[in-house]
Symmetry: C2
Subunit: 556 residues, 2 copies
């Protein structure tokens, strides 16, 4: 086994080629042969997590920053523990490969009653479960391994969704040939004729429009048109907004940025600019209940150019196959040709922060988000968990080049803590700021131990409001199912691995601001425990709760 190039080595070579320098996971006896080759590779580092769901979340956070991620679990128990994280990557278009170490081919062929199986001799239960939440799957053997690894990774990259690779323990050590060349990822076609038709139709729309706006969402990030989008809004001075899942896709520190679009709950200037435009260019938008506050958007398809990953729609006309990048590039050209300056909406003056007068009263959500916004710097990575953090963070205006990570469609509570680990390892030179509630943090809390061990520059602001406040806002404000055991968060590092993590508690706006100032240039992980009232929620969440209650009544 020693010395020769194996299937495991082939996979590691490919992962490194995709920019995957860290693999997350939990070891199990069926995975150890593969992990030995990871450790020996010198190309990819092993990051052990406390459990497999956390590992999948970490790989997702890593992929959102590095472009692709990988998680390794053992057969059955490990892969099923991770599957919720993989499903999140599927829902939100994040390319993560789930590598599963399995019993040897011989054991499987014999249908043996080995550990981590259901005991019925059927070794494909979990592959079938994964087929529901991955875009490509392969069961490797010594003969097909290289071709199947390439197929799954290429599909994953093309579709921006997770892949699934099962490696029986004997296949992990089977000999393989080194790749002959780089991984081929043929993109889906753009038809030249379709592009021409689209350009013609878009030209007509643009020429007729008195006002124009751009609305961008997360698929613009996933299908890699950030810089084209920036060119587009710059070319015509076009006012623009993003949905909350696409926050940060376009620079918010810019005159053209009108705010975050949240359907009827948007600020008035955002509504006017986006819903009132004669023509809306919408790029990579998915209108979900959470981001539109219950589908409250008023967007007229007849006045929209709706650019999606492999097709674009104008009114009832669909242009396909047409890649997002090609469509946006065409729009940049058109807007540049038109060479006009588009009307700007009236924006209210942004209120200036009163730096001199931080408060000494109770810390509330409104103060928190003001303090965080002031704290952020260009280039930071910001994660907000799917609780009050998500709704509060939407109202911030981000500094330039901030990467904003939320999981608002899949919305798995607790996701953002392991995801912050992944993001920080993908970009150690940047600051990573994590905003997470106490209820959410309890789901995945043991990953603070990994943050400490890896010594990541993650500044966690723990929104400590005594339970599931987001649920309280929607239903059962005082029902005890929304209560959780009260934890003493500042002591977490004392348990989970030591003194390298700085912690403190903030109960007033003054304390929070002062603490944030003191950790602005961290040399390791930081945990700030921000104590807030149990029923205090961001304004936007109040709107959401009103909608949810109304929807329940309609359905009830």
């Amino acid at each position: 086994m020693s010395g020769h190039y194996t299937v495991s080595d082939y996979l590691v070579t490919r992962l490194a080629e995709l920019g995957i320098r860290h693999i997350f996971g939990v070891p199990g006896d069926y995975t150890l042969a593969f992990l030995d080759r990871v450790l020996a590779s010198g190309q990819v580092s092993w990051v052990g997590n406390a459990n497999e769901l956390n590992a999948a979340y970490a790989a997702d956070g890593y992929a959102r920053v590095a472009g692709a991620g990988a998680v390794v679990t053992t057969y059955g128990v490990g892969e099923l523990s991770a599957i919720n994280g993989i499903a999140g990557s599927y829902a939100e278009y994040v390319p993560v490969v789930h590598i599963v170490g399995a019993p040897s081919t011989r054991v499987q062929r014999a249908g043996a009653l080995v550990h981590h199986t259901l005991g019925d001799g059927d070794f494909e239960h979990f592959a079938r479960a994964h087929a529901e939440v991955t875009v490509a799957q392969a069961y490797l053997n010594a003969g097909n391994a290289a071709a199947e690894i390439d197929r799954v990774l290429a599909t994953m990259l093309r579709e921006r969704r997770p892949g699934y690779l099962v490696i029986p323990s004997d296949v992990a050590t089977a000999p393989a040939e080194r790749p002959l060349g780089p991984l081929q990822v043929p993109p889906p076609d753009t038809s030249a004729r379709v592009l021409e038709d689209f350009t013609a139709a878009a030209r007509v729309m643009l020429s007729r429009a008195g006002t124009l706006a751009v609305l961008a969402d997360f698929l613009a990030d996933r299908f890699d048109v950030r810089s084209e989008l920036a060119d587009l809004v710059a070319a015509g001075g076009i006012p623009y907004a993003t949905l909350s899942m696409g926050k940060g896709v376009l620079d918010e520190d810019n005159a053209g940025f009108v705010g975050t679009y949240s359907g009827a709950a948007s600020a008035k200037p955002v509504l006017a600019a986006i819903e009132g435009a004669d023509l809306l260019i919408s790029v990579g938008v998915r209108l979900t209940d959470s981001t539109t506050i219950g589908f409250s958007q008023q967007l007229d398809p007849a006045r929209t150019i709706d650019v999606q990953p492999v097709s674009t729609r104008i009114g009832n006309r669909e242009f396909a196959p047409l890649l997002m990048k090609a469509a946006v590039q065409a729009l940049v050209t058109l807007v540049t040709e038109l060479d006009r300056s588009w009307p700007q909406p009236d924006l209210p003056e942004t209120p200036q922060d009163d730096d001199a007068l931080p408060g000494h009263g109770e810390l509330r959500q409104a103060h928190l988000w003001q303090a965080v916004q002031r704290f952020l710097r260009p280039g930071d990575i910001v994660l907000a968990d799917q609780g009050t953090a998500f709704f509060g963070a939407q109202t911030m205006r981000l500094a330039a080049g901030v990467t904003f990570i939320v999981q608002a469609l899949w919305a798995s509570v607790g996701y953002s803590l392991p995801a912050a680990l992944g993001a920080a390892l993908a970009a150690p030179q940047r600051r990573t700021v994590l905003l997470i509630g106490d209820g959410a943090a309890q789901l995945t809390a043991q990953e603070f131990g990994t943050l400490i061990r890896e010594d990541c520059n993650v500044i966690t602001i723990l929104i400590n409001n005594d339970g599931y406040t987001i649920e309280r806002a929607i239903h059962g404000a005082e029902q005890h199912y929304n209560d959780i055991p009260a934890w003493n968060w500042p002591l977490v590092p004392i348990i989970m691995g030591g003194a390298t993590m700085r912690t403190a508690r903030a109960g007033t706006p003054f304390q929070l601001n002062r603490l944030l100032d003191s950790v602005a240039d961290p040399t390791g992980p930081v945990l700030l425990d921000a104590v807030l009232p149990k029923l205090d929620v961001p304004q936007l969440l109040t709107a959401v709760a009103r909608f949810a209650t109304a929807a329940n009544k309609r359905n009830g």
Copy 2:
């Protein structure tokens, strides 16, 4: 909604009827309508867990003691987080119902892009995944709810495997009729003629046998023949053993008990009694790799009466349909009729513990298991996680009436901590003793917070040996994938909810014995941090590791 009897109430009524007095889970907005009826019921208590996998494990532990269990999760994110726990219940025949709160029927019909979905309008992905690991599934609507709830619960009880119920939020509040009578659970048939044939064949086998032994395993527990088994071995003074997954099914504090059977790794008297018997009555046995130490058993089918849940086999002859209970009752009658006393194997004298001389040197695995065995009392519940704890615990001789819980087939590391919570809530009058390694405990550690909140009499002995020692024994003793962040376990309660949990650290046999004495009658949870050498493993695990290495070589 208030006042009228709903589908939720119907389900709660049925759960209470099955002896389910506690429901585990994590709330989510799609589940809140159901949870309101749980809280209002006064029949079933809500136990909120830190995350859904922990909740599923807790429900499994509860079911192993109370006969059935229930876990409630929200759609998508929640149910997939729990699915590994449900799969464990499937593999090991534990009746747990997984209740999933889902988006309303109207939302599903519209294929709306709501949170906790994959965004593709297909609302059946997760039901299909669950079909792989549950024995009955239903998607409830107002019309079918009562019938479908009954069908799923009855199938779950008959097959002793998990069921899956999806309740859309509008269906949870839909009106329902109260049940007309108790849940009907028709058992599978026993054919009278088959029973007669079996009895005749077994009589011949018994009459010819010079020596006889009984080997019992976990399915004897699941299919409820403990008392018949006790009658059987008592009737003829038959020597008996159990496999480790069936440990405690038969009284170990009895002259007939020869030990735990572990294939070739069994103690010599066990091998002689079980493999050497002229006739072996094997009841509810599943020969798995972990319990037979790599299928090293030497059991001759021609000399075995193999009693399974719905059939029995003697040599090549299968008797079906024949329920386990009927078969064992028939054997009791036959053995009683024969009225002979069977030869007993020569057992070595059990070495007496030297109470007077506890050691002051390093605490090692051998001391640990001696100390725990001395500590146990009749009627305790003991859980051992699937690491060194599992292999060490097998070698103990249990006091009478001890319930022993391991998950050796599914073998999901970390399972036993939440399962201990469930077991303790099912039997609060008993002591629950949890044996778990530090690596395992990190997977599910936040459930200590729930143990503290619920004030359970769980005595945790944390086997703190600096990582995944079971993996080290098998492969990669010093590879860093077997390392974990070092936690300061005695401080855990200070973080997770307070002073009601007693903790202490033991580094010598003397300290461990003294601490155990001091917590013998706990009035709340206890955590003892037993510090052991990293590479010290129970003797049995050494045998397993030898096997695993050999198997890898054969396959590699």
